[in-house]
Amino acid sequence: MVNLLIKLWAVLTRRIDSFLLGVALAIVGVGLITLFSATDQSFTRVSNQATSLAFSLVLMWIVANIPPQTLARAAVPLYVVAVVMLVAVALFGTIVNGSRRWLNLGVARFQPSELMKVALPLMLAWYFQKFEGRIGWKDFAVAAVLIVVPVYLIKRQPDLGTALLIGASGFYVLFLAGLSWRIIAGLGALGAAAAPLVWSHLHDYQRERVLTFLDPTRDPLGAGYHSAQASIALGSGGVVGKGWMNGTQTHLDFLPERHTDFVFAVFGEEFGLIGNAVLLLLYLLLVGRGMMIAVSASTLFARLLAGAVTLMFFTYAFVNMGMVSGVLPVVGVPLPLVSYGGTALVSLFIGLGILMSVQAHRKLVAT
């Protein structure tokens, strides 16, 4: 009997990277504690998030048990499906309807881009793996098209923030695949040159956000207000923080979106600089572990995929904390593993599952 349990445990944990899971759960734990405070002690919210966590862990386990080669085979179909869904959204996504059910269907607008977050790096990693060793300018052009198509479609939705993040994930694969520095510098220069053009194509509200970022007093009741209140929350937290559930900014309703995008302000107010440093360290451990896994992977595909997934974790954490602390404009990016929201949690744990799969299968495919 005991033997059986031990065996079962062995099967369950065989592909699980305990270090990665430990760090991730520590961050989620920080998130749940903060969430409890941010929601004025709402058990419903915390248990909702815990349910999502349980579901996410199961998915993570499943993904971790899929060998990277199998993931590679799914790359093309997944990518195609995601693009088709994005096109469908562009064509049929404008029907307005008054019923609640349609509102639920409205969520579908985000689903293709959510899928694309995984599909694009998979696709690019697969592509570079397939043409490993003879990658030329044509392949770079193909990769650029593979990135630009979904980014353009999502930008049109319009969801500029997500489009940029997905573009970044694609860029990471190219970077890790060894994209020449000249091209990178060229892209940078091109980006700087195109900035005025991009500016003229932005929606008014998007421009407004950028202007508000540069000068928060422009919009004291909108995004500027959010940003200012978040800075007050962080700053007034000081070195040791005001203590759990004692943040005045949080509990007097001054912080907007305080359990989703601005949850970090709650954390920083209540746990201070020390808490922030611990959280930064946890993310650093997560990213570091991801990089180690990427480096020790045995195939180019696994390497690129693990590297890109890891860098996306970093990007989300950086963009969110940068936004809350006022060094980046307000864009709707949640803090990974901390912000309230089931969909994001599921995506993130699938990402962890991919990393674990790469780690667990590194020897099986060694050449």
């Binding site: 929601t39 004025d40 709402s42 058990f43 419903t44 919210r45 307005v96 008054g98 019923s99 609640r100 059910r101 509102l103 409205g106 060793g133 990658i135 030329g136 300018w137 319009p158 970077f175 890790l176 060894g178 994209l179 020449s180 000249r182 091209i183 929606h203 008014d204 509200y205 009741l221 909108g222 007050i232 962080l234 700053g235 007034s236 937290g237 000081g238 070195v239 005045t248 900014q249 509990h251 007097l252 309703d253 907007p256 979106e257 920083g268 201070g272 600089l273 922030n276 930064l280 990213v287 570091g288 990089m291 990427a294 180019l300 590297g307 950086f318 904390m321 602390s325 006022g326 060094v327």
Partner: protein, 657 residues
């Protein structure tokens, strides 16, 4: 070379190295990959370092400053939702209004056990299972910590009972909120539309208007109909209250208050009694009707049957009702006059005749011989007339009065389709009329260019894109590719009735600002004038009068107290291959659509309309009697006492004009 440029070789020492096969080995690659990861790692460290520096700046260096700010941060800003504008018909009968009522609201974050609390509340006020369902749904969707309604529209008794028990329910409150109500329910539901809770797409819309601040505190937004298209008039300006809060977050006193400005009131051009007469004239049949005042473009009645009760949508429609509406084969949510494109059938004939007169292709007296069919020289196919033996000798007047198909087969075969297109599009066919609700279809007015575009896809071949003489012939009797919306037909007959002076049809007559009392009229000027000769107009108008006096409309208009003009039409839904059409043998939904266009009085038209009865069979039998009832009511006041209006509908708008 290009390759070297893009993925630089290891010789230059910065990664890549795919270009030299002798070096292409796993270790080399791994080394280069490691270097890239190393660079990324350095960037990650730098970025997190920068974040830490920022935190240090905020939390250590600027700590005192922010500490002070947080302590003086005692002023909360509370939005005050404005009252949404009232919608009335042209005579001031209220079609949509807001009223204040009590709701029972729960702040989920302050309640330990929601289920228990709701159970306890159910003992005091009535809580239906569907209230619970809706509440749970709201709970899932809510983002902020707003309080959520469990029950709306509490009775006075319930309010009193809760007040007594209030101490038992921390986090549960009674609040006065504004509700939207449509007193006439289904009547004119497709015109008025409804409001619903703001969803993700609405948020994007609001952001694009740059009105995000103004919708703070608003829960509802127009979704369909006038409620949607005039949303920005109806909404109003949100007020702001600055309140001082104590350490517990409760409001202590109000520091300043900017009152909200109520939304503007809309006066529709509809005559709601006429609307009711028209809707009742349809009975249980499906279809649409648009009645327009030719001299102004005012839409007097706008019917789409069946309709729906807009009140169901306001609080979010429940699944059962939604299924009922959305999956019904009768499509009650389809706005037929606006979004239904139907072949016009014979109602197209007077317009084509007018075109033939204008271009000089026909004179009024020119006759053709109708043997009961039309045949192209050298072709075997016969285009049949409705009347088996034919109408004999037919001039233009008779061609309209008896609706002779052969006359128009011949005309169609002799007229270039692009000339027809040019004339007909001036009357508004194949383009949007510009009516002031969203979602209008353009319909199809065929031309060579249109066909080329329509079959441009690679799966079609060149012969599909070519325009054939046969296409012109079926287009000549309003079949073939022609597809018009009822609003287009009404607009066109109104334009003819008004001697070619066209107005943009509009449902909203005027907009009244409550604050300033200022009234703005909508669309008073004609959009354009179709160049028509008076003598040509006279021929057509005379023939249209003939239709209702001695032709296909005579039965329906027998003994009318006024002189009217009209044209019947029957549009094929189902093409019978050589068989004789027999309504009784065919599935009801494949039966022909009945159409009728008309205006009255003939000499000085006050009303022009288009009627469509889906699967109604012959236009003369199904559609013309509907028009008769509408004209009778509008012109002679028959049934004036007519349908009773609910008491709630009286008053509301004190405009006198």
């Amino acid at each position: 070379m290009a390759r070297r440029l893009l993925f630089s070789s290891h010789r230059r020492g910065d990664g890549g190295g795919f270009d030299s096969p002798e070096l292409r080995n796993a270790e080399r690659q791994l080394f280069l990959f490691k270097r890239r990861v190393g660079i990324a790692g350095v960037l990650v460290l730098a970025a997190f370092g920068a974040l830490f520096a920022r935190f240090f700046y905020l939390q250590v260096i600027q700590h005192q400053h922010y500490q002070t700010l947080a302590e003086t941060n005692r002023i909360a800003i509370v939005p005050i939702v404005p009252n949404r504008g009232v919608i009335t018909d042209r005579n001031g009968v209220v079609l949509a209004q807001s009223y204040s009522a009590y709701t029972l609201e729960i702040q989920p974050s302050r309640v330990r056990n929601l289920e228990e609390t709701i159970d306890a509340l159910a003992a005091i006020v009535e809580v239906q299972p569907r209230d619970r369902k809706r509440f749970r749904k709201l709970l899932e969707e809510s983002k902020n910590f707003e309080s959520l309604p469990l029950r709306t529209r509490l009775s006075d008794d319930e309010v009193a009972r809760f007040a007594v028990n209030r101490y038992r329910f921390p986090g549960v409150e009674i609040k006065a909120r504004l509700f939207r109500q449509y007193p006439l329910g289904e009547v004119a539901s497709h015109v008025v539309g409804y409001i619903g809770r703001i969803n993700d797409r609405d948020v994007v819309r609001i952001e694009e208007w740059d009105e995000t601040a103004n919708y703070k505190g608003s829960d509802y937004i127009g979704k369909v109909g006038v409620e949607l298209s005039y949303e920005r008039e109806l909404h109003g300006t949100t007020g702001v209250e600055q309140v001082e809060v104590d350490a517990g977050g409760r409001a202590v006193r109000t520091l300043s208050r900017t009152p909200p400005i109520a939304g503007n009131n809309l006066r529709l051009s509809l005559d709601i009694r006429l609307q009711q007469v028209a809707e009742e004239a349809f009975g249980a049949r499906r279809g649409g009707l648009v009645a327009i005042e030719p001299a102004t473009g005012d839409v007097l009645a706008f019917v789409s049957k069946p309709g729906f009760d807009p009140n169901l949508f306001v609080e979010g429609i429940d699944a059962a009702n939604w299924e009922l509406l959305n999956e019904s084969p009768d499509k009650p949510l389809l706005n037929r006059p606006l979004r239904g494109a139907y072949p016009p059938g014979s109602t197209i004939k007077p317009f084509l005749a007018l075109g033939a007169l204008t271009s000089g292709k026909r004179t009024p007296a020119q006759t053709i011989h109708d043997p009961g069919f039309f045949q192209l020289p050298g072709a075997a196919h016969r285009f049949n007339d409705d009347k088996p033996g034919g109408h004999g000798s037919v001039d233009m007047y008779r061609s309209i009065v008896v609706s002779c198909d052969t006359y128009y087969y011949v005309l169609g075969s002799e007229t270039d389709i692009d000339d027809t297109w040019r004339f007909m599009s001036q009357l508004g066919f194949g383009r949007k009329t510009g009516i002031d609700i969203e979602g209008e279809l353009t319909g199809v007015l065929p031309s060579r260019e249109w066909k080329r575009q329509r079959f441009a896809d690679a799966k079609y071949r060149e012969e599909h894109r070519k325009w054939y003489l046969g296409d012109s012939i079926s287009a000549g009797i309003g079949q073939g590719y022609n597809a018009f919306t009822p609003i287009q037909l009404a607009h066109a007959i109104a334009t003819v009735a008004n001697d070619g002076v066209a107005f943009r049809p509009h449902l909203v007559k005027s907009i009244r600002s409550l604050r300033s009392g200022e009234v703005r009229e909508v669309a008073r000027e004609p959009t354009h004038t179709v160049p028509l000769k008076p003598e040509h107009l006279a021929v057509i108008k005379n023939a249209l009068v003939g239709v209702n006096r001695e032709g296909t409309g005579a039965t329906a208009f027998a003994k009318a107290a006024y002189v009217s003009a009209g044209k019947t039409g029957t549009a094929q839904v189902f093409s019978l291959k050589g068989e004789k059409y027999a309504a009784s043998k065919i599935d009801e939904r494949l039966r022909d659509h009945a159409l009728f266009i008309a205006y009255a009085p003939a000499d000085k038209p006050r009303i022009a309309l288009a009627v469509l009865v889906e699967n109604g069979g012959f236009g003369a039998q199904a559609a013309a009697p509907v028009a008769r009832k509408v004209f009778d009511y509008f012109l002679t006041g028959e049934n004036r006492a007519g349908p009773a209006l609910p008491a709630a509908a009286a008053g509301g708008d004190d405009e006198s004009d």
